[in-house]
Amino acid sequence: MSEIIKKNLSEIIDLIKKKEIKSEELANLYIDKINKSKKLNSYITTCFEHTIKKSKEFDEKPNFNSLLPGVPLAVKDLFCTNGFKTTAGSKMLENFIPKYESTVTENLWKEGAILLGKLNCDEYAMGSSNETSYFGNVINPIAKDTVPGGSSGGSASALVADLTPATIGTDTGGSIRQPASFTGTVGLKPTYGLCSRWGIVAFASSLDQAGPMTKSVKDCSIMLEAMAGFDNKDSTSIEKKKENYSKNLKTDIKGLKIGIPKEYRVENMPKEIDELWNKGKSILKDLGADIIDISLPHTKYALPTYYIVAPAEASSNLARYDGVKYGYRSSKGNDLIEMYENTRSEGFGDEVKRRILIGTYVLSSGYYDAYYLKAQKVRQLIKKDFDENFGKVDAILTPSTPSSAFKIGEKTNDPISMYLNDIFTVPVNLAGLPAISVPAGLDKKGYPLGLQLIGKTLDEQNILNVAYAFEKNCNFKNEIKNWWL
């Protein structure tokens, strides 16, 4: 097996630019390993003919000035890709082929990247273990009986198994950062509005945000630079100048104030997580940062708030999957209502149905004020907590997840314990802030664990810098044994 595909994205880009490897050769290396790694179930769709054709085109007329010159990439199957199946991990869209390209993936192709395939994910991004996918669960390459996290589980698994040099996911409540933490990789959820949502299958519109998943912080900065940007097709897109995250990356974080929120020390949190958090603090302190204790008093309401807001929006966003226009349609039923009922009963999985039910309930007349409206108010308080503290600190350090990767099937019958996995990540989505998960160490089973850095609105550069400095001084090493080959 070639050593090249084990490398980071930035190193691979260097090899291409130095003409030490051609795009087509690189593509073939990935294709070869993808073909041998079906056990992981990280890909739903591959499009190798397209990959080879495009890489040949690149090699004939290479443009080395782009950010991702001739780099083959796979993306989460929530991004609509023109001419290639986009399933959102659901039976409902099993055979759906969009005739349009999401803005974010379009941005990647404009920077020279080439589509390798579409990566498995929880159905409509609803899940924390990639076990709700209609196309089967994904295996975490770190150990064959563990989940890769979710919902961008296929992305994390493929990345750490060297089946793509970098990838993109979406993060509604932790769907990038939690799988990154579970696989020892880097995952960033940008400020809400930094990356366009146009062409991404919607889960919860006010929370959804696309972001990069990579093997290093530098890779992360390159990918973010490539995918971000104002888009007038998305009304919530932020109008601002493009930033040069990779060029401006630096390790000097002297004098930066890092907040440590006491509310994130939750009950029954494993000792290992606490130790990891302390390790993070001391590394940053050694690099010259000031560690400051802070309080985010409404943190404990974040998870219940999230599980009202997200399902409410989802219940409405998923109404369009009704069997009328595209996607799955049940053959049973005597009238329109029965067709709807059968289509949606057969086309959606249990977790999606559960969230549609919750969402429909919290928006119902008589319950709206008690649930949805109250949740919106709490959401404002959570945002205010962050705003107030960002006067005092430049970034906030927390664990990414309350545990390392758990076993397949361990939590599938216990939705609450599954939802608790997002406890450290959801406040960030509710507040619309950027946050990055960086690998920080291994637990005693040898499974990776990540730390999360939360930044101010549009302060991606800053958290990338802190993460970059941290990464350089943490000496994290991911041990992937390629046991599935």
């Binding site: 759906f96 349009y100 146009w198 009304s235 929006e313 009328v324 595209y326 119902s364």
Partner: protein
């Protein structure tokens, strides 16, 4: 028809009832593209030819507000003397239907773009103010076609996503006549503003009609029923009459009115229950997270206000003072922008009062007869003004003018040309007239004697003879004067 007292009451067997009506008018915004997508909005296009990925709710598609629709709603709000809200919110109204691709309609619920306003109606019994509760923007749905195939329903999404203004009145209307006047007034205002073409045949203007009744003298409103989606003024009036009578009968029998949604069956001329309050949809309204709250700068409102055209109420006042028209004439002449423009052009070139009389008489009758809009009139405003002037100056009589008018309709020619070529000019030379009259008096000496001995009815006979002799061209006033003078002598 003209009544100077309001008297629309329904008499039941026991009591006399007053009818309370409120309207929710759905007016299609005049704009080239839809409310949240770039698709075209032309009427009558091939089914599903004006549908974008957004209108058909493909995965990942997002709405982007069309600024022109916002401007149109603001203009309409200003035309209704209403408060424009600087902050408003788009909400999702959730329900399932085959012609609703998103599974929700984007509408405005708690925070509409336009707040309270008012509309003035001119009724035969005086002017009446109708309160406007609100105006909000929303998407139209597509169209389900059930009769093309026995076993399937077809869906046309051309209308899906088209911008509608829902204009909600207060329950201030009291009769079908007031509803008629209200809808026409709304339509006139919107046509003046260019914000809605008001074409009811094409579905640009439809209404949900809320009807309740109460005993005359009662202070509280009765239970109302909503009649959905009525698309002509005539049907609205018929539906109200039927519905009010139905409710009165129930009440007189001691029964209760159930709050419900009803449909008007235009073939049977009756309303019937569609769904009761218990079956009412729970629309689960919530703010659309794909759209930011709509902020409207005061400057935009001020700019739009500055560039607003003269509105019918103002124009009416001006017509009354500038052209010395009475309220009725002014009302008719401002009822459509094109009519008022035509009138003003004519009035500038001719006698303003006579122009009004002739326009509202012969011109309107002819247009009505031919089913023509004034903009398609075979007589140009300039030619019409010349005709009016020819009457005013005494060049032709009113009777001849009618003939000239007919010839103008046929040929589109200038009236001067017609009068000249056909020799229709009025005989107004007193000497010439005196000569004719003297001849007639000489010829009919016996009748002159009878007249002089008191049979004054014979005056008409002499006038008739003069007209006959002059081929109808004798100036009638002058003829009268000379006849009287000579018969005295």
């Amino acid at each position: 028809m003209s009544k100077d007292k309001f008297e629309y009451f329904i008499k039941g067997e026991k009591n006399k009832y007053e009818v309370i009506i409120g309207l929710e008018v759905h007016a299609q915004v005049s704009s080239n593209s839809k409310l949240f997508s770039g698709s075209a909005t032309k009427f009558g296009a091939e089914p599903n030819s004006q549908v974008s990925l957004i209108d058909s709710a493909f995965p990942g598609m997002l709405p982007v507000i069309n600024k022109e629709c916002i401007n149109q709603a603001i203009r309409t709000g200003l035309g209704l003397n209403a408060k424009i809200n600087n902050n408003s919110v788009f909400d999702r109204k959730n329900y399932f239907y085959a012609d609703l691709p998103q599974g929700y309609q984007i509408s405005q619920y708690k925070n509409p773009i336009v707040g309270e306003g008012k509309v003035l109606l001119d009724m035969p019994y005086g002017s009446k103010e109708i309160g406007i509760e609100r105006l909000h923007l929303e998407q139209d749905a597509g169209k389900s076609i059930h009769d093309m195939d026995p076993s399937s329903t077809y869906v046309d999404l051309n209308r899906s996503g088209i911008a509608l203004m829902e204009i909600v009145s207060k329950p201030d209307l009291r009769s079908p006549e007031e509803v008629n006047a209200y809808i026409k007034k709304l339509r006139t205002i919107m046509r003046y503003l260019g914000t809605c073409d008001g074409n009811m045949q094409e579905g640009s203007l439809r209404a949900d009609v809320n009807v309740s009744v109460r005993k005359v003298g009662d202070k509280n409103f009765g239970t109302r029923c909503e009649i959905k989606n009525v698309n002509s003024i005539k049907f609205m009036q018929m539906a109200i009459e039927y519905e009010a009578k139905r409710q009165v009968e129930l009440l007189d029998e001691g029964k209760k009115i159930e709050q419900e949604t009803r449909l008007f069956d235009t073939k049977k001329n009756e309303t019937r229950s569609m769904r009761s309050k218990e079956d009412a949809h729970d629309y689960r309204y919530f703010p659309d997270p794909d759209l930011l709250p709509l902020k409207i700068e005061q400057k935009l409102i001020d700019d739009l206000k500055k560039n607003l055209p003269e509105l019918p109420d103002n124009k009416k006042e001006r017509f009354m003072s500038d052209y010395e028209l009475n309220s009725y004439e002014a009302n008719v002449l401002v009822s459509e922008k094109e009519i008022s423009n035509y009138y003003e052009e004519v009035a500038k070139l001719s006698d303003k009062k006579l122009a009004a009389t002739w326009m509202m008489g012969d011109l309107f009758a002819m247009l009505n007869d031919k089913g023509l809009n004034i903009s398609k009139s075979p007589i140009s405003a300039k030619n019409f003004a010349e005709l009016v002037q020819s009457i005013k100056s005494g060049e032709i009589s009113g009777r001849i003018a009618k003939e000239v008018f007919e010839l103008m309709v046929e040929s589109g020619d200038n009236p001067k040309k017609i009068i000249k070529s056909k020799g229709m000019k009025q005989l107004s030379d007193p000497k010439e007239l005196e000569k004719i009259i003297n001849e007639i008096l000489t010829k009919n000496k016996d009748k002159v004697d009878q007249y002089k001995s008191g049979k004054e009815k014979l005056f008409g006979f002499f006038v008739g003879q003069v007209m006959k002799q002059s081929g109808g061209k004798a100036n009638p006033q002058l003829t009268n004067d000379i006849l009287k003078k000579l018969l005295k002598g």
